[in-house]
């Protein structure tokens, strides 16, 4: 029996979806630094998010049920995560490795937005992450404004997902990715005051960012 299965069976009640928490974002934060874990947890809680913090990519995969234990039939229902925020530089599995693993998964998990956090402003690193499907790349230290902006973006995305599904059904031939503009794109790109690198000032990041909404 894999550790992941034990972890899921021992999940306390509060980690399961609650009807009242329909509008509450559940964020899974991954960081090997205890100081950073404390800070990100507080940043998220104060922004009214449900938070689960883990110390490594391995633990994150375990929590999500992606630790290779395919035999488990408990499946994805018990854990619903709306956003994953992971540090880039971690021993063993880096944030980039974790990102790749998640994006290789089945549709449910691949759709979870993953944000990379790093104290290093390295363009090649940023490009790599965005190309692999990261939603955003935040420069540490992460601020309240970053979390708020992310939250708004994700919340709008959740609403738009529902609308988009309706749109696709009714206009199946007219909908093509290039013709569909998404309001979230412009708001994300225009937030120059944050530590997000997705700004018009960095052309390489713009060209590699594909709309996944």
């Amino acid at each position: 029996m894999a550790g992941g299965e034990v972890l899921r069976q021992n999940l306390p009640e509060k980690l399961e979806e609650s009807p009242s928490g329909a509008n509450e974002l559940h964020v899974l934060a991954v960081d090997d630094s205890l100081v950073d874990r404390k800070v990100i947890e507080r940043l998220l809680k104060i922004s009214s998010c449900k938070v689960t913090v883990v110390e490594s990519g391995t633990r994150a995969l375990q929590y999500l049920g992606l630790d290779g234990d395919k035999k488990s039939s408990i499946g994805f229902d018990s854990v619903k995560v709306n956003l994953i925020m992971t540090d880039y530089s971690m021993p063993g599995m880096t944030g980039y490795d974790l990102l790749k693993k998640i994006k290789q998964e089945s549709s449910v998990f691949r759709e979870i937005p993953v944000v990379i956090m790093s104290s290093e402003n390295i363009l090649t690193r940023i490009d790599r992450c965005l190309e692999e499907g990261a939603e955003d790349f935040l420069l540490k230290p992460v601020k309240l404004s970053d979390v708020r902006r992310l939250k708004d973006f994700i919340m709008r995305g959740e609403v738009k997902e529902g609308e988009k599904r309706c749109c696709k059904r009714s206009r199946s031939e007219d909908c093509s990715p290039s013709s569909m503009t998404h309001p979230c794109d412009s708001s994300l790109l225009s937030s120059l005051s944050s530590s997000s690198v997705l700004s018009p000032l960095s052309p390489s990041t713009l060209s590699s960012k594909k709309s996944r909404l």
């Binding site: 100081v35 404390k38 800070v39 507080r42 540490k140 309240l144």
Partner: protein, 157 residues
């Protein structure tokens, strides 16, 4: 009516903070931490800072241990400790400590042992200074909280 003591201590606290900002010891990330402190988490800043102290002292000991080795050559390992220290220092707004870590890292990148030793000494000094000042800050804050709790003068009969 709040005790005069609380007001004076509040002024002391702000004076010390302003001084630390002016000296570049702390930056706006420290203010960000203070914003995260409220009634639901009233000791958030001191909790995080105490974790930071505990971790940093371990890392500093590791760094000194490595550099003191007769046959020292593991700059990569030193770089790992340094990156951890730099990351957490920047997370709490310890600007001067972070900057010294940067200089230290440059020395490791060039495998410059004497440069590393100098940087480590500076780092230990900056860290000590930061720790003392933050302890002072927390002490004033504690006293202020106590003083603010006194609404009326205590009667001694």
């Amino acid at each position: 009516m709040l005790g005069l003591g609380a007001d004076l201590l509040w002024a002391d606290m702000n004076r010390l903070l302003a001084f630390l900002f002016h000296q570049g010891v702390l930056d706006e990330q420290f203010l960000q931490l203070q914003q995260l402190q409220d009634e639901t988490s009233p000791n958030f800043v001191s909790e995080v800072v105490n974790i930071y102290f505990h971790e940093s002292e371990k890392l500093l000991r590791n760094l000194r241990g490595l550099l003191m080795e007769k046959e020292f050559s593991d700059y990569k390992k030193m770089g790992i400790h340094l990156n951890q220290l730099m990351g957490s220092s920047s997370s709490i707004g310890a600007k001067r400590v972070t900057n010294v870590c940067l200089a230290f890292r440059a020395a490791t990148d060039h495998s410059n042992r004497s440069g590393c030793l100098r940087a480590l000494e500076m780092l230990e000094h900056e860290y000590c200074y930061l720790k003392n000042k933050l302890h002072e800050l927390f002490q004033i804050e504690q006293q202020r909280a106590l003083a603010a709790g006194v609404r009326y003068p205590v009667q001694n009969n």
